[in-house]
């Protein structure tokens, strides 16, 4: 192609040249290499995606690449037969990149965990939302706030908090920890609606167990289940559970009322007052109940330790302030805080997408290589959809299921940490509207490469 205008011609020439093309390719290489290093550093593919692969730098270089490739192809106009292999290769790359963009923009790539013998129709997506509900009577909740938040890319700080207005008050998000190791702790609360907390020990010759129970709200029972026995913090509400029970009902700032029941007996075995340090023998398996700590007003809070990289034990968390109170909210967990007459339920959560049909997991199996613990295959027996559109299938690695435009793949599984029993199967659920563009691009490019190599034999090469 040729242009009359000298400057346009010069710019066009530059656009088709390797002076532009090679720096673009090198920048892409450097960018994505950085991406892999980031992924290794944080052990987190999401970090690399957010910081590099879906960043403006990536979009810019990819845009320039498309521009360069397009100009190079257009520049050959009018095309002759010997141009076609060249055009195929470059047009194929354009299509591949565009297909990738369509996938990223309009596709779905989430995961769904289904318990064995359970069902689920919500896919967990990577986007995160902040949602706040409020209640005045403790039963009915109204959604006060919902917004997509990207704390990974734009972490809030005490100086630059993320502010959420709730009527007269406001909640500020002041910190974001991408990789947090978590533990629970009980802290004293000043709120009138806060519940109580006890720390106790159950012991006999064989057992010595220390546990904490914290009520989520005043007068709302909190429980700890030991199998044949149960400890409840709250008002006495004895239903015949076929197990031994002890109720601890907060009385005042120092005392709790204990009520011990024996199984199969509707009448209390004994009852009385106890203070910190007191011991009551329960009469079950010679177990003694010792009250180690009692906080009349307390809430449970997360304790957050910042770590450098993602591990299976870390989660991301945000810290919020409301007035003088500070709280941590862990990703996909609930935080409940109390106002004077109202209570708020806050979540920082991954977006959940309703598939429109349930996935029911009938069975999940792991087969192993002979005589070893090494897994050979993972198989999930599922039924998807309902009624007449229901479809049963076995999903295993490399054998996905296609249903309603979605493809469901075996991705992972969960097992009980102690018993190692299989608990749930995790699928990745995928909808990819850019797929056909990428396949078309691959086809055209591959065709072009073969043609190009065939053609090169016939003409003088750079050899």
């Amino acid at each position: 192609m040729k242009f009359q205008n000298k400057h346009i011609q010069k710019f066009w020439k530059f656009s088709t040249s390797f002076q532009l093309g090679i720096p673009i390719i090198v920048s892409i290489a450097v960018l994505i290499a950085t991406g892999t290093i980031i992924e290794a550093k944080y052990n987190d593919a999401y970090a690399a995606r957010r910081l590099i692969y879906e960043s403006w730098m990536m979009y810019l270089t990819m845009g320039l690449l498309i521009y360069n490739l397009t100009i190079v192809v257009v520049d050959r106009w009018p095309w002759k037969l010997n141009h076609y292999p060249f055009i195929c290769v470059h047009a194929g790359i354009i299509l591949l990149v565009m297909g990738g963009y369509v996938t990223q923009k309009y596709g779905v790539d989430g995961s769904i965990a289904v318990n064995i013998k359970g069902k689920n129709n919500y896919v967990q997506m990577p986007q995160t939302d902040m949602v706040i509900y409020a209640t005045f009577d403790g039963d009915r909740y109204t959604k006060m706030f919902e917004q997509e938040v990207d704390f990974y890319k734009h972490p809030p700080t005490p100086e630059k908090p993320f502010v959420i207005k709730l009527g007269e008050t406001s909640v500020n998000v002041i910190d974001y920890v991408p990789y947090a190791r978590l533990s629970k702790k009980t802290v004293v609360s000043t709120s009138a609606q806060a519940g109580s907390s006890i720390k106790f020990q159950l012991m006999n010759a064989n057992v010595k167990q220390v546990e904490t129970i914290t009520q989520t709200r005043k007068d709302k029972a909190g429980q700890f289940n030991l199998g044949p026995a149960q400890v409840t913090l709250g008002p006495v509400d004895h239903k015949d559970l076929k197990k031994n029970e002890i109720f601890l009902t907060p009385k005042d700032n120092d005392n709790v009322i204990y009520t011990v029941f024996h199984r199969d007996n509707p009448k209390p075995f004994k009852t009385g007052l106890m203070k910190i340090g007191d011991v009551v023998s329960t009469g079950w398996m010679a177990l003694e109940f010792r009250l180690l700590d009692y906080l009349p007003k307390a809430t449970e809070e997360w304790d957050v330790i910042r770590t450098e990289a993602l591990t299976p034990l870390t989660s991301s968390a945000i810290q919020i302030t409301r007035g003088a109170d500070k709280h941590w909210i862990v990703l996909n967990d609930l935080l409940k805080i109390f106002g004077t007459s109202e209570a708020y339920l806050m979540t920082y959560q991954n977006r959940r997408l309703d598939l429109g049909f349930p996935i029911e997991l009938k069975n999940f199996k792991v087969s192993r290589y002979q005589g070893s613990t090494k897994a050979m295959a993972y198989e999930s027996e599922v039924t998807v959809g309902t009624d007449s559109k229901a479809q049963s299938a076995t999903i295993s690695m490399n054998e996905p299921l296609k249903y309603n435009n979605y493809t469901i793949y075996q991705a992972s599984f969960q097992e009980d940490e102690v018993t190692r029993e299989l608990v749930a199967s995790i699928f990745s659920v995928n909808y990819d509207p850019g797929r056909w563009i990428k396949y078309l691009g691959s086809l055209i490019m591959s065709f072009g490469i073969v043609w190009l190599f065939y053609q090169k034999r016939k003409r003088k090469t750079a050899v």
């Binding site: 994505i32 290589y369 005589g371 990428k438 691959s442």
Partner: protein, 566 residues
């Protein structure tokens, strides 16, 4: 004076090695049957020979045991057998390799030594501390650093030390199907320690005969007869063991082939032949002889044949394409590099192309052979993700074969740079030929890598629903492709002259090393890193750095040469 039976066994073992060190080429002789006994281990059935070699490799780092400097090595199967029969006789032998200095520090052991006794390591009061440290680290579920990987090996050594001695590690007999057997134990073979009462005497017989045989070897008396007796007892045991569940005891042929594979050691022969090919070719080249290429071709063909044979062995034994770990890909890539050099040589008749091919093949095979702790040569069952899908063959083999072409370009580039340093004007023609080789090899590489990456995308789309997921392994394969595409385009428009092309062949290969080795061993992230791999980083970095320095040196020499000419 107080020479116990155990000590006797040990001395006899030392002497036995002399007899057995000759047993190289599968000439089955008396006393050898025990090596063919099928064992269930790590999810497959293997001969006792392989089991013993792999076990010794984990604890000692080598396939044979050398009691002291200059002494003849003892075969792994005698080490493992006598260790099970009389663990005490091994308790004070330095049998455990510990190389990591921080670990030795923690245990308070000398860093001068490389091998330690079980007493020194496991009766050490600090041993429990370091094991606790490892447990704590594991609980954090963080990635293990090299120090903790070294501790992990120590733990593994301890486990093997204990389990071999107790007879719980050697699974020798399939389980009969019966309602009493728990379903998860159905396919588990029975260990020596748990053999049914009626079978036990048959194994005792083997133990007795092993002792007698090794004694006979020491005394150099009735060796043949004792060997025969041992063989008979092994056969008698196998007959009994097989009767319990004959359908699960059908590995005789495979096991035989595997022992043969262990004995032949095909890849070692392959590099010996490549070495001879390279040396004879160098001689012919330097002397500028017209004749003699027939010899080179013969060596090259022999090497390639044995190389292929070794590959076929592994395909047969593992029942899958052997490209699932670093060791196997090094073997496969060097095979490809040799193949491409042969094809290019047949096309161009430059001779030098063959030299490049034999040198890289030789180098890669020696590396594969000399670092078993890093490049694990044992045959392992496939990870679940990789299984039952022909995409593995198609995608992994195409991508790695492109690395073969790039490796050839790298070797040829190195040769070309050497000539360039020796005098660019003087060796103009040779340099031109090598440049052609580099260019062609890179073209071949790109022609395989591009479809390889696309096939990888199609496989990933099929199994995970992601055509492209920015996984580090696939990303680095793309970086390699981009790198070589830049080289090809730069050549096409004349930015790279001959020297530039040779240098590019060498420098760009660093990207291949990163994609191939670095992602698994340095980055250790993503979907493609199955299990732990570590080690060798310092050697590989030095290798890459030396080449970059060499290219820079060649560049300055070439610069000064051309300025003198002007």
């Amino acid at each position: 004076m107080m020479a116990t039976l155990k000590n006797k066994i040990f001395t006899s073992v030392i002497l036995a090695l002399m007899a057995f060190s000759f047993s190289s080429l599968g000439l089955a002789k008396a006393g050898d049957r025990i090596r063919y006994m099928p064992i269930q281990d790590s999810g497959r059935i293997k001969p006792f020979d392989t089991f013993a070699q792999e076990t010794l490799e984990i604890i000692y780092g080598k396939k044979t045991y050398k009691p002291e400097e200059g002494a003849q090595p003892i075969d792994a199967h005698w080490v493992v057998m006598t260790w099970m029969l009389s663990p005490e006789s091994w308790a004070n032998r330095p049998l455990f390799e510990v190389k990591y200095h921080d670990v030795l520090d923690k245990l308070g052991l000398s860093k001068e030594k490389k091998y330690f006794t079980g007493e020194e390591l496991f009766r050490n009061e600090k041993f429990a501390n370091v094991m606790q440290e490892l447990t704590n680290k594991r609980e954090t579920k963080e990635k293990l650093t090299p120090y903790f990987q070294a501790l992990q090996r120590l733990e593994n050594q301890f486990f093997i030390f204990r389990e071999i001695a107790s007879g719980r590690m050697l699974h020798v007999m399939p389980r009969k199907d019966s309602p009493d057997v728990k379903p998860e134990d159905k396919d588990k073979w029975i260990a020596v320690a748990d053999l049914p009462i009626d079978i036990q005497p048959a194994f005792m017989e083997i133990s007795k005969n092993v002792a007698q045989y090794l004694g006979a070897v020491t005394d150099k008396a009735n060796v043949e007869e004792a060997g025969k007796k041992l063989d008979d007892s092994v056969l008698a045991f196998q007959k009994l063991a097989g009767e319990a569940a004959p359908e699960k005891y059908t590995y005789t042929e495979k096991v035989k082939t595997e022992v043969l594979y262990n004995d032949i050691h095909p890849f070692r022969w392959a590099y010996i032949f490549y070495l001879m090919a390279a040396l004879s070719l160098l001689f012919i080249w330097i002397r500028r002889l017209e004749k003699g290429m027939a010899i080179v071709w013969t060596f090259m063909a022999l090497g390639f044949l044995v190389h292929t044979l070794g590959f076929v062995f592994r395909v047969y034994l593992a029942e899958r394409p052997p490209v699932s770990n670093m060791y196997e890909t090094v073997i496969w890539v060097s095979w490809g590099a040799v193949l491409f050099s042969i094809i290019l040589e047949l096309n161009y008749r430059f001779r030098l192309l063959l030299l490049g091919g034999s040198l890289v093949g030789l180098f890669a095979l020696i590396v594969a052979d000399s670092a078993p702790a890093i490049l694990d040569p044992s045959i392992q069952p496939l990870e679940a993700v990789l299984r039952s899908n022909y995409w593995l063959i198609v995608h992994v083999m195409t991508i790695t074969i492109s690395y073969a072409a790039f490796m050839l370009a790298f070797g040829l580039g190195d040769l070309g740079l050497i000539y360039s340093v020796l005098g660019e004007e003087k060796h103009k023609e040779t340099i031109q030929k090598l440049t052609t080789g580099v260019y062609r090899a890179i073209q071949i590489g790109v022609a395989f890598l591009t479809p390889g990456i696309i096939l990888g995308g199609i496989w990933a789309d099929y199994s995970w629903g992601r055509f492209w997921g920015w996984d580090p392994k696939e990303t680095w394969a793309l970086i390699v492709l981009l790198g070589y595409i830049v080289v090809l385009h730069a050549r096409l428009v004349g930015w790279l002259k001959n020297f530039g092309m040779l240098a590019a062949g060498v420098v760009t290969f660093s990207l291949v090393i990163m994609a191939w080795y670095g992602v698994n061993f340095v980055l250790g992230a993503g979907l493609h890193t199955y299990g732990f791999s570590a080690g060798g980083v310092e050697y590989v970095s030095v290798f890459v750095l030396l080449h970059i320095v060499f290219v820079a040196y060649a560049y300055f020499v070439q610069k000064s040469q051309s300025s003198k000419l002007n």
